[in-house]
């Protein structure tokens, strides 16, 4: 069993390139067990590309991605699938299957990856839906009948369906009103604490970073420029990082005290 605090995800020397446009070059990143890691960066610095490379939606040009001790780029398919079952991904707008109800959406991973009976599946799906704070009557609704915030919650319920060890969140609070966003932050923190999750979160939201992230990784100059706690970030001199954590929005979020 791995110890708390050791690297559950190791990205080494990652290179991503679209045509002649280099997104990442020599990118290194460690995600430790049990932490909430926030990944920030300007638009186009490849935050989502990094997430997609780790979860295997995008094959990097070079480098290695090791998750839970398995080299994801070279492992045989069945081994990789086993690892894939130990993480859950929440996409920006939930990416729910629009032809299925919320409950059926949450049931999909249970149906595909386990041999649970229908009754157990329904019970577990309803449990997860309730855990992410959706009302019971949301179970039978279709994604198009839900608000953006509810779709995100339903997406999170689906990501948590198999009780993963790692959860990837792509801009979980984008497009939510501030109250909804902080409620979502609190939800993520609460679930992370009770379920012992490791959270990899791509975000722009300074409030989220402040409220729930244990560590922050800043993407810039095609690599992870710096990682550390919020306090460490405030000491970084790099212009973009400085602007980001000392800008007017950072002040509004109560991060930088000038």
């Amino acid at each position: 069993m791995a110890q708390p605090g050791d690297a559950i995800i190791q990205v080494r020397d990652l290179r991503n390139q679209f045509g002649s446009h280099v997104v990442h070059d020599g990118l290194d990143l460690d995600v430790r067990r049990g932490e909430v890691l926030g990944v920030v960066g300007g638009s186009g610095t490849g935050k989502s590309v990094l997430l997609r490379s780790i979860v295997g939606l995008l094959r990097p040009r070079a480098g290695s991605v090791t998750v839970l001790g398995t080299d994801m780029l070279h492992a045989p398919d069945d081994r990789r699938q086993k690892i894939e079952q130990r993480w859950g991904v929440m996409f920006q707008d939930g990416a729910l299957f629009s032809s299925l109800t919320v409950r059926e959406n949450v049931e999909v991973p249970l149906r595909e990856q386990t041999t649970l009976s229908a009754r157990t599946r329904v019970a577990l799906a309803e449990l997860k839906i309730s855990m992410v704070g959706l009302p019971p009557n949301a179970c039978d609704k279709y994604p198009s009948e839900l608000s953006g915030g509810m779709r995100k919650r339903a997406g999170l319920a689906r990501a948590l369906a198999l009780d993963p060890e790692i959860v990837f969140l792509d801009e979980p609070t984008a497009g939510l009103d501030p109250i909804g966003a902080s409620a979502f932050d609190a939800l993520i923190k609460k679930l992370q604490m009770t379920l012992g999750l490791t959270v990899f979160m791509v975000t722009h939201d300074l409030d989220s970073l402040h409220a729930i992230c244990d560590r922050i990784a800043v993407l810039a100059e095609q690599r992870v420029l710096v990682t550390g706690t919020m306090k460490d970030m405030l000491k970084v001199d790099q212009p973009w990082v400085h602007e980001y954590f000392h800008g007017p929005r950072a002040r509004a979020a109560g991060i930088a005290e000038d």
Binding site: T114, A123, N137
Partner: protein, 418 residues
């Protein structure tokens, strides 16, 4: 007598030990300890026996869970848990190595089932972490929903029928309203010809008309061939081969040419209208248009419907010509009716009204296809599924309405006598 079960399962997260359940029935007075080998998989594994005497009074039993109580092994563990019986039970979790929400759900579900039988079921030995998880899960298990009350099947069915009829009627009215809006816009554009989107109109004429010529020609040619071939087989029995010309000419000119062209165009362009307008609706482009002072009907629907009205008769002419050509060729090959004879016979015995009747219908079909296609596109909601569903509805509905209109025209022309 104490017994225990444990085995390897190869599901989910790899080869893991499923939760083992040691059951100590109330009759077990003594304690035993031992090791066994899992025979099923042949992998050596320690199986723990319960070494405790039941702590409770007689009539209670202890269920001792050990191993990994996780989602991958859940069904296994569930199958081994006994049904609630006459005894009170205690769930001992002190040997559980790992538990996730699914495992916690199982523990609570077991407890609930026991309590439903009026027995007690206590949970002991859970680590603080597991206790917390159990608490979270217990709080979140939804109350048994009272919303799904049993319904009478017949009334359910009746309600469905009623709702379908109502929504069908409402849809018809809405579609008529949409047709009215298109006509009104057409009137407005006629009064202000500068507002007609000429580029768009020409583009759609090319898309709907010119690009459909090959498929329409091939279809009509083959229909002519089939008509001639089938007609020849029948007419030869009576020595009336030359009447094959009348058969082909009347059926192709009057009905098949334009009807089949309309069906192809409905499938080709009607579906494209719905998909194009629908995806614009989905991405809020139509709303954006309205805020910019553009009228979606004028910009999107009118050029499409007008283009259809203009080119569908032309496609009908192409289909007529190709149908006759196919028929003539097959008559020559199969019956020896030479092209010259075919032409003479065509001149003499086929009234020009047959041709006119066919083409008169074309603009009406065009309006049906254009309006249905655009209307369904406008009905697309925010999700991708509705786009697909409405595209197929659009094709089915426009073909259906075209055929209905064709039937009405047949009656009408029979009454006026052409």
């Amino acid at each position: 007598m104490a017994c225990a079960l444990a085995q390897h399962v190869n599901t989910g997260r790899g080869r893991r030990k499923a939760a083992a359940i040691a059951r100590t029935p109330p009759t077990a007075a003594g304690a035993k300890a031992g090791h066994a080998r899992s025979a099923r998989t042949g992998v050596r594994q320690d199986v723990r026996f319960s070494t405790r005497a039941p702590p409770g009074p007689p009539g209670a039993m202890t269920l001792r869970l050990s191993g990994r109580l996780v989602v991958a092994c859940l069904e296994e563990a569930r199958a081994r848990l006994p049904e609630p019986g006459a005894e009170d039970a205690t769930l001992d979790l002190s040997d559980v190595e790992a538990m996730d929400t699914a495992g916690a759900w199982l523990v609570i579900d077991t407890q609930t089932r026991w309590r439903a039988r009026g027995k007690t079921c206590d949970i002991t030995g859970a680590s603080p972490q597991h206790t917390e998880l159990l608490e979270v899960v217990r709080r979140n298990i939804p109350a048994k929903d009272v919303s799904t009350k049993p319904r009478n099947d017949f009334f359910d069915w009746l309600e469905t029928v009623g709702r379908t009829a109502c929504s069908g009627g409402r849809k018809l009215i809405e579609m008529l309203g949409f047709l009215g809006a298109v006509v009104a816009r057409f009137g407005y554009v006629t009064a202000h010809p500068g507002r007609l989107r000429l580029t768009s109109l020409v583009h759609h004429m090319q898309e709907i008309g010119l690009n459909a010529v090959p498929i329409v020609s091939l279809m009509a040619f083959l229909i002519g061939v089939v008509m001639a071939f089938q007609g020849a087989v029948q007419l030869r029995q009576f020595g009336a081969e030359v009447f094959v010309v009348d058969l082909i000419a009347i059926s192709v000119l009057r009905e098949l040419g334009i009807l089949l062209t309309a069906i192809i165009v409905a499938g080709r362009s009607g579906a494209a209208f719905t998909a194009a307008i629908g995806s614009m609706k989905m991405r809020e482009e139509i709303d954006a248009m309205q805020t910019l002072g553009l009228d979606p009907i004028e910009v999107l629907v009118l050029p499409r419907v007008l283009a259809l009205i203009l080119v569908l008769p032309l496609l009908g002419v192409v289909a007529d010509v190709m149908g006759l050509l196919g028929g003539a060729m097959m008559s020559w090959i199969e019956l020896g009716v030479s092209p010259g004879m075919f032409q003479t016979r065509l001149h003499e015995s086929v009234d020009v009204w047959h041709y006119a009747v066919g083409l008169i219908k074309a603009p009406f079909f065009a309006v049906i296809i254009g309006v249905v296609g655009s209307y369904e596109g406008m009905k697309v909601g925010g999700d991708a599924a509705s786009l697909g569903r409405l595209t197929s509805t659009s094709v089915v509905l426009s073909i259906f309405l075209v055929i209905v209109a064709d039937a009405l025209f047949s009656v009408f022309f029979a009454i006026v006598g052409v």
